[in-house]
Amino acid sequence: MSTPNGAPANGQVEGPVAKLLDQTGVFLDDRLRAAKSTRTFLRKVFPDHWSFLLGEIALYSFIILLLTGTFLTLFFKPSMNTVVYHGVYTQLDGVRMSEAYASTLNISFDVRGGLLMRQIHHWAADLFMAALIAHMLRIFFTGAYRKPREFNWLIGIVLFTLGMLEGLFGYSLPDDLLSGTGLRITEGVALGIPIVGTYLSFFLFGGQFPGTDIIPRLYIIHVLLIPGLLLALITAHLFFMFHQKHTQMPGKGHTNTNVVGQPMYPYFMAKTGAWFMFIFGFLAVLGTFAQINPIWLYGPYTPAAISAGSQPDFYMGPLEGSLRMMPSWTWDLAGHTVAWNVVIPALVPLGLIFTGAALWPFIERWATGDYSEHHVNDRPRNAATRTGIGMAAIAFYGILWLEGANDVIADHLDISLYLTTEIARYAIFIGPVVAYWVTKRICLGLQRKDNESLLHGYETGIIEMTPEGEFIERHAPVPEEQRAVLLAKRPVAELPAPSDGDDEVPAPATRGPVGKVRLALARVITEQVPAATGDGHGNGHGNGHHEPERAAVTAGEPGKALPGQDEAGDPPDSGSH
């Protein structure tokens, strides 16, 4: 039997294409000695899960940003020289404006495809940031940042910060009324920084606001400096991911010592290529039909004017919200003004999120004493505290973000503008706590439900009547695939118990004040419903109270594992601390 291409059934490809490939391969290998490594590369296995596509969205948005951005630089003039506009857009005929604004009008109206490229570029920037957020949340909630992937987590945080700056500088370039207002706020925030703020602002703007230097300066930062950094960091990010091999979701046959999935060539290449086409197509649809940043409607920048409802791009929303939310605190300190009303909202909320995110893997590792490698992702419910913290961060960020649009909210809900801000001022403290608590309870509940499913099967929805006339619901055992997922739960902590044995002597790692903090943290972080242990009773039930937490640590010992439970987990590496 042979295939339509004439290849024999044993799979060896023949014909002119094969010959060409062969000759090329020999040519390259003679020079690069690449046959073996390239073969490994082609057969590299990529695990599959929808959430693994989020990072790819960011990557492909970035590539589209480079492509469309390069096109825009061919026509954009980063200059604040004043010109008088005479162009296609007659509503602004004869208006004085900067060359930057005039050239953006020209890109939109005089260059064929210019408007499309501008709009795709802007949408791609928004998609890039949105995908970064989604990707980082996926990484956090599944614990994919754990050893050995801390570098990539940190790179991701830097990428996000740079992405925010890149976006801010990018949408400031057209020098329209909206973006000029954004720069004015940037100046105001810079001025508010204690001691060096005034100098910082004067050096950034080349003197007083607005000056004539800021657009050319932002331009070179936007098109060279930050993209260069982003490109370098993304390359490193992908290299680490490749080298360390991708994590996989829990599933049948997925262990910490293997990678299950489809090979790079031809499967992953084809799928990821298709994904790139989809994203490009999706952005082209947005760029065609969804108008974004219509700078011609805003008009050129003038410091005395502003349009109502001025809103930055969505990823700057939390900063805008924190500026709006902050009370008007300032200090007069020995003849100097300390603008807490600006410094705190500009630095503290996002500083908390980014610093907290950067430190979290190390805090968790230290507190739990878990120094082992992790290649199988956690299900969010199985790390209740982490998931709770993640949801608290989402609530925190989300409330800031909503407050950044409080005028729109007040308008649509027909409530007082000031009321929305008053609510936000309380919600920013209460919201995360509630989110943490609720999420954690839900996670622990889901863990109990998983135990229930493992021990008693799932509810089939089939009601049976017994001969005695009793109605019961038939339960069926969980399918094997699902069972593997449920059994993937691991006890979180490996920190030595407070006392080893009966002698009540504290373990070394838990002594002293630091040890106490560590132990307390470990207790919170490792809170978990003990995994089901085959006997059908006991641990699966009655864990509504907090006491058996420590039992969770021991409940998953290999000896007690259920049949089929993967025992290839990591041995505790207690020597590292």
Binding site: G25, V26, L116, L191, G192, P263
Partner: protein, 359 residues
Amino acid sequence: MSGTEDYPADLPGHGEEAEPSRAPHRVIGTPPPAEQRTLLGTAVQDSPPPAPRELPSDPPDPVKAKRAERIVAALFILSMLAGIGFIAAYIGLEVNSGGLDAVFRSNLALGVSMSVAFLALGVGAVIWVRSLMPDVELTEERHPLASSEADRAAFKETFEEGADTSQFVKRPLLRRTLIAASIPLGLAPLVLLRDMGPLPGTSLRHTVWRAGLRLTLAGSNQPIKPEDFNTPGSMITVIPQGYQDDDNAIAKAAVIIIKFEPGQLTHPTNMNWTVDNIVAYSKICTHVGCPVALYEQTTHHILCPCHQSTFDATAGATVLFGPAPRPLPQLPMGVDSEGYLIAKHDFYEPVGPSFWERG
């Protein structure tokens, strides 16, 4: 010149592989014996036989596969046509002459053809993968990332050997002078940034307003007489006469004026600086410098659209709500001999956002 690519057997990094020859000797001008060294098919002589096939070659259902093949081909043709359409739309639809309609027509044609071209390719590729490539699942081993103890030890040894041989550790004089040399070089780039802008000096304390300078309407640049206000009410943006094209000046000197009914203006408004119940405040918000452009006539609230600081226009623009820490500074205003509104003096305090030296 024999064309040989033999490696010396004792070349570091190759010795342990013990490959006798990667390419046989051959005479220049003759084709390489490709069939012996092919990468895709038969293996190189003397190397182990190829691993058994891991990927199946045919999709399970040939009938379905044939149908999928046709669909994919149709989608690829659609993509090709859309690509041609894109080029045609670029050439065929001019944007310079037809005004905005032509622009949006061109945008639509280019955008739709581009979207179709990419989406059809994407959909086609997905159908290709899902329906024509047999579903496989491979398992690859994963090893701990840490190197072996021996490798780590060897690395440590190599590193220490280098440090030793370089004398870096042994000769502190060299080490310290090298570090000393690098410090000023590290600081130099920072110093170079100094000329990015002038020093602030007292420039943030002053605006271009001075005694006798007329207030003019933003936009028309006409000077204003108090009689021009027929009825109290709306808020008007004003800039200093002659500075309409100077953004740096306007960025600090923009002013709003509002006329009130007699008796509406109260403490702490400075009544000496008002003319005929017309009061002038800085338009630059004391929070982060946005123009305070919204005015509610019934409540006399001035609102900054950026962060919603709210000021009471009747009471010296004191802060009612929001993050602004100070009232909007009031401009000392009077009238000149011709009856036009003028400034009597610059603002008596810095306008706009807080800064460290403001005091």
